[in-house]
Symmetry: C2
Subunit: 335 residues, 2 copies
Amino acid sequence: MRNNGNDLNSEIRKDPVIGRWVIVGHDKGYVAEKKESIQRKANPSCPFCPGNESSTPPEILSVEKDGKWQIRVIPNKYPALSSEGEIKREGVGLFDKMSGIGAHEVIIETPDHLASVTSLTVEQFTEVLKVFRSRFNELKKDERFRHVLLFKNEGHSAGASIEHSHSQIIATPIIPKRVQEELDGAEFYYSYKKRCVFCDMLELDNRFFKERVVIENDNMCVISPFAARFPFEMWVLPKKHFSTWENSDDEMLRSQAEILLSILRALDDVLGNPPYNIILHSSPINGNCDNYYHWHFEIIPKMKRIAGFEWGTGFYINPVPPEEAAEVLKRRLNR
Amino acid sequence: MRNNGNDLNSEIRKDPVIGRWVIVGHDKGYVAEKKESIQRKANPSCPFCPGNESSTPPEILSVEKDGKWQIRVIPNKYPALSSEGEIKREGVGLFDKMSGIGAHEVIIETPDHLASVTSLTVEQFTEVLKVFRSRFNELKKDERFRHVLLFKNEGHSAGASIEHSHSQIIATPIIPKRVQEELDGAEFYYSYKKRCVFCDMLELDNRFFKERVVIENDNMCVISPFAARFPFEMWVLPKKHFSTWENSDDEMLRSQAEILLSILRALDDVLGNPPYNIILHSSPINGNCDNYYHWHFEIIPKMKRIAGFEWGTGFYINPVPPEEAAEVLKRRLNR
């Protein structure tokens, strides 16, 4: 918090989907809070670099060009969940548990150790998205799983333990809480409006709050959400209502690659290569929520430390109003 | 994750109150993940040190001894919320907001810049808790507020921006989401069991899962919770059912001081002065939940970075099984 008590002008905003309240303040100090500026250094022992393929588990698939791999999918060497075995459920009184069954894969997005995804071309990034889609659809077939999570940690303070650009995919036998909350919120809204809450949000922002619409193309739109939890948090949504990302056709994937590259490059420029997370929010497997759920990516730059208050309460303080974040990014994008 | 794929033996556990699932793995690597070991250094310009009182806003109260303050309460110089004004509510379509009204105070727990709370005596810590209670009860009287949050950030990576030992108290016009989830979970359980879920959890752990009971005294108990989200997460609960912490009498506060000092000292020893957060979970103001809510402290050492996966999903991976964390701490406590 860098607000001067005298000009404090914060407000408390409610997320329209989940109902979470966020304190949105006015603060120009966000850049000073940034801890990390990503700069990659060559590392001969990087397990994700060409030549070191033997230091990873055997690959699941790869995309090749001129006899060299461009994208490579491997099982996570240190998986959070084990892919072998049956799901056993067990409980004693209050305490429910199940076996830690799931899939945990790593997608290496480029052979170039020094490259970030923003240095890929639209064509290359589209190929990466196609690989994501292929793995997503493959994991969906496993009847043990209820949900597939696709996410990217960029930079150490965003959780990346290996610098070489990669994403991860985790299939789980349960629906994660945050996803369930979104589903519940969207279903509740649909139950009395018979409309998708995400569609309504896009409509409202596009008609009356253009200041939160950062960039759009034929199929996709990036908004700086009304109740953003984090400085420069961005949501990337399809303009048309789709519940399942993994059904995106090639044209949609290209639109996504284009808009993701634009917004990530703008964030890099404006915030100086910040660490960030990208998380795909798509319908659970057989989620039965086509009417009311709307898939999207969430991009969360790691600009501030998260304190106990936020952990313990689910109540966030975002010093940067989303309209200001959008304005800064739009200036950059329209340059 | 430091698991070797070969001996992976994780399980997925469900928090009995909130229903959140956590992947609990087996991992001895938690110490290597720790980023920060707290070591305080003298700082002549520290605004919380005696002699520099004029660099803080005027004090709200202080506890003195021999003409010198021992504990001091001040308004936060950079408050998240403003204490002056009416609460105005406003909405456009989906988007609800209210004015950022609230209270934000800082409790300086010792005049000694180099001291952590663990260097206080039981008597001194009891005095600190009495000051918390006094401010809590004072803020409760303000009819604009629905909830009072009391929390401590120890160490930079736990969110502390000033090294000198202090806690914070924030009164808000809304009930934070996490608190509401606990209330909802506890109410749901009560609706079909007519019992408190926290009481049942304590009972079950004490009768059948002693391995999760870390330490107890006459009034209080520390458990390593079944579905701990974080390595060495600890919950500190009263053995008897009480919904509101701020009604604790002096004897209860002394019991709390005693047990908090014991567990915090054990964590310091075992984890090497880790950064941590302590968050008080007490009933909202006029929460009407005396039957089913059970106040408690949550202690969360910051042992690992939080990655996108966890942010985006509310689905946590805890490499250290709570039973192992308890065992390590109990060995230290019984030494």
